[in-house]
Amino acid sequence: MTTQTVLAAAGEVSGGEQVTFWILAPLALIGAIGMIAARNAVHSALWLVLTMLCLGVFYVLQAGPFIGMVQIIVYTGAIMMLFLFVLMLVGRDASDSLIETLRGQRAAAVVLGLGFAGLVGGGLWRALKGSTAVGLEQANAEGNVQGIARLLFTKYVFAFELTSALLITAAVGAMVLAHIERRREDKADQVATMKARFRPGTYPGPKPGPGVFATSSSVATPARLPDGRLTERSTPDILPVRELSAQETSLKGTDK
C-alpha cells in the first residue's frame, strides 16, 4: 500500500497497476453494458455487481483502500443484495417486458439522465475550480482512514448528518407506507366468524375432496355430489374444470 501511495502521489503508474487496470477496465465496461442489455432482472443486477467490484478494486489501486472496501461492503454486499432480495421475491421468470406502460418514458429518462449528469458535472466543476490539488502525500498524512474521518466529522459534518437524516426519513417513510396495522376491533371474534359460517347461503361443512367418486385421481377432476352432479367447489380456483380427453383415458400401453 505504501509503495502504491508513493507511486500514485508521484503521478507514476506501476506495472502491476497497469496490468490490473487493463484486466478490470474491460470487465467493468462489460458489466455496465450487460446490466443494460440483460433481459432477466437478476442477471442485470449481477452484471452491476461485477462493475461495482471492479470499481472497488480501482479505488484500492488509486491508494484509497478504505473507500474501495466500503464500496464492496456497502454497495455490493448490502445494497445490491437487497435489490436481489426484492427481485427474487418478485419471481425468477420476471423478464423485462418491452411494452412501455408509461408513455414517453424513455425520452423522459434520457432527458432527466442528461440533466442529472449535467448537474453533477457542473457541481463538481464549480467545486474544483478554485481548489489546488495538494497530492496524496499530504491528504493521507495521518493515514487514509483518519484523513477521511477528519474531513467527515469536521468540515462536512453538517452535510453528512443531513444525508443520514434524509436516508433515515426515507427508510422510516417506506416502512410507514408499507406497514399495515390491523386494529384489534377489526379482528372478527369467534362468535362473528361462526355466524358468518352458518349464514344461509353458505355451506358450513368441509369442502368435498377432489376426485371423490370420480374416474380419475387428478386434483383437476371435480368431485361428484350424491345426486351425480359435479361440484366445482372441490377443485382449486386456478385449475379449470375439464373432462379427460380420449387420449388421456385410454390405456397407456405400459402393461404389456
Partner: protein
C-alpha cells in the same frame, strides 16, 4: 528484552517486501490450510458431536476415522452431477465457486504469527496486510452471501429459493451486529490492520502483585467483553451454523439453498461452510483473543512470542473456538426465524450501540483529573439509577377468572354446559376392566434350562 519483544511485531511496512516464491508459498499455505481444516473439521465435528451424544462417531477409515472425510470427499466427486432443467446454468455453476473463493480469500489477511525467518528472509507469518484488513474480512463475508443466494435462486426450485432468501436476510442482519462490535475494537486499537490489532493487544500494562509482575490482560475479549460476545454470536449467524442454520433447516426446507446441488458443487458448498467456520474462528482469535500471542502462564517463558511458537498458540485458540461452534451445534435447538430476527435487530444491535456510546464516553474522559472523572461518570450513573427506580412499573393485568370469562362473552354466543356439571362415568369403561384369569406362572420345563 523489550526491544526484542517489539521487533517480533510486524508493522505495515514489513509487508510487500517478500520475493515472489515466498508470496506464492504463503498463498499456497493459506489455501491448503483451508482444505486441511475442512478435512479435519468435518471429522472433528462428527467425533465431538458423537462423543456428546454417547456414540463413537466415524472410527473406521484410517486411525481414529481421520480419513473418513477424505473418503466421503472422493465418493462425492464421483457422483453424478445433476443440473436441474429449470436451473439458470451459468449462475448455478458459479454460486458454489463464489462461496469458496470468498471463504478462502478471507484467510489471506489473518496473521498466523510474528516475524519469522524463512530461508534467510525475515517475513511476517501472514499472506498480506493492508491498513483496512478487517474491512477486507467484512467484504469477504458480505460477498459470501452471494454464493448462497445465487445458488438458491439459480436452482429453479422452491426450497432452495426460500433458503436463499432467508440466508440473505440473515447474513445482512448479522453483518450489522458484527460490524458494530468491530467498531469497539477499532476505537481501542486505533487501527484496522489485523497485525496492528494483534500488536495492540500485546502491550499490556504490568500489575505487580506480591512482588511478582503479572501482565494485565490486553485481550479485547476481556477489555471489550460485550463486543466479544456479540461478535461471536454474529459469527455463528454469519456462518449459518446451528442454532442459526435456518437457510438449510432440514425440517423445514429439505437442505435449503443446496437442495438441488450434488457431486462436486455440493462438496464446494460444504468446503466453504467449514472454511468459513475456521476463518471466522481465526478472525475472532485475531480481533479479541490476542491473535498469535501466548496466554498468560506461557508468557512467563520469554521466547513464547517469538519464532514459530506463536503459530501453535494461534491454532490452539482456533481449535478451541471451533470446538465451541461444534458444542453449540450439539447443545442448542434451532431458533425460529422470527425469534432469530428479533434477537438480531432488537437485542444485539441496541446493546451494541449503547456499549459503543459508553466506550466512547469512557475514552473521552480518560485524560481528565480524578474529580471531573467522578462527576462525568457519576451523573449519568445517578440518572440511570433514578430512572430505573422511579420508572412507572407496568403491573400485569389480573387474569380474569373462569366465571368472569364466561360472563364477558358477547351476546349470542353459543351455550356452554353448566360450570358444575358432573359428568357421569361412561358405562363403556367397565368393559375395559375385564377380569382376567390368573396367569399360570408355575415353574415349567423352561426354568430348568437356566
Amino acid at each position: 528484552m523489550n526491544a526484542v519483544y517489539l521487533a517480533q511485531d510486524p508493522t505495515l511496512a514489513d509487508f510487500g517486501r517478500d520475493p515472489w516464491w515466498l508470496v506464492l508459498g504463503k498463498i499456497v499455505f493459506a489455501f491448503a490450510l483451508g482444505l486441511v481444516a475442512t478435512l479435519l473439521g468435518v471429522w472433528f465435528e462428527r467425533r465431538v458431536v458423537g462423543y456428546m451424544q454417547v456414540r463413537p462417531g466415524p472410527n473406521q477409515v484410517g486411525p481414529f476415522g481421520l480419513l473418513q472425510t477424505l473418503a466421503d470427499g472422493l465418493k462425492m466427486a464421483f457422483k453424478e452431477d445433476i443440473l436441474p432443467r429449470a436451473a439458470d446454468k451459468v449462475v448455478y455453476f458459479f454460486a458454489p465457486v463464489i462461496s469458496v473463493v470468498c471463504a478462502v480469500t478471507a484467510l489471506s489477511v489473518i496473521p498466523f504469527g510474528p516475524m519469522v525467518s524463512i530461508f534467510g528472509h525475515r517475513t511476517p507469518l501472514q499472506v498480506t496486510d493492508v491498513p483496512v484488513a478487517v474491512l477486507v474480512l467484512l467484504a469477504c463475508s458480505s460477498l459470501a452471501v452471494y454464493g448462497i443466494v445465487l445458488g438458491g435462486w439459480a436452482s429453479g426450485s422452491t426450497y432452495p429459493l426460500l433458503g436463499g432468501l432467508r440466508s440473505s436476510a440473515q447474513m445482512i442482519s448479522y453483518e450489522v451486529a458484527m460490524g458494530l462490535s468491530i467498531v469497539a475494537v477499532f476505537m481501542t486499537a486505533g487501527t484496522m490492520s489485523t497485525s496492528g490489532i494483534v500488536a495492540a493487544q500485546g502491550d499490556a500494562t504490568r500489575l505487580s502483585v506480591f512482588g511478582t509482575e503479572i501482565p494485565a490482560p490486553g485481550w479485547y475479549a476481556i477489555l471489550l467483553l460485550p463486543s466479544f460476545v456479540i461478535f461471536f454470536i454474529a459469527t455463528v449467524g454469519e456462518t449459518n451454523r446451528a442454532p442459526f442454520d435456518l437457510p438449510e433447516a432440514e425440517s423445514e426446507l429439505v437442505a435449503g439453498f443446496m437442495t438441488e446441488y450434488s457431486s462436486l458443487k455440493f462438496a464446494l458448498f460444504m468446503l466453504s461452510e467449514y472454511v468459513a467456520m475456521v476463518t471466522m474462528s481465526a478472525v475472532t482469535v485475531t480481533l479479541f483473543l490476542g491473535g498469535w500471542r501466548a496466554p498468560w502462564p506461557i508468557t512467563l517463558w520469554e521466547g513464547a512470542n517469538s519464532g514459530w511458537w506463536p503459530m501453535l498458540w494461534f491454532f490452539g485458540k482456533v481449535i478451541m473456538l471451533v470446538f465451541v461452534f461444534v458444542w453449540l451445534r450439539g447443545t442448542l435447538p434451532r431458533l425460529r426465524y422470527d425469534q432469530f430476527m428479533r434477537f438480531g435487530w432488537k437485542v444485539l444491535l441496541p446493546i451494541n450501540l449503547v456499549w459503543i456510546l459508553v466506550l466512547a464516553g469512557l475514552r473521552s474522559i480518560e485524560d481528565w483529573d480524578r474529580s471531573s472523572k467522578l462527576i462525568a461518570v457519576g451523573i449519568p450513573a445517578g440518572i440511570l439509577l433514578l430512572a430505573t427506580l422511579f420508572w412507572p412499573a407496568r403491573r400485569p393485568q389480573p387474569k380474569p377468572t373462569l366465571q368472569e370469562q364466561v360472563n364477558n362473552r358477547p351476546p349470542g354466543s353459543f351455550p356452554l354446559p353448566p360450570m358444575d356439571l358432573q359428568v357421569p362415568p361412561s358405562p363403556r369403561i367397565r368393559r375395559v376392566v375385564a377380569e382376567r384369569e390368573p396367569a399360570n406362572i408355575a415353574a415349567g420345563p423352561d426354568s430348568r434350562e437356566v
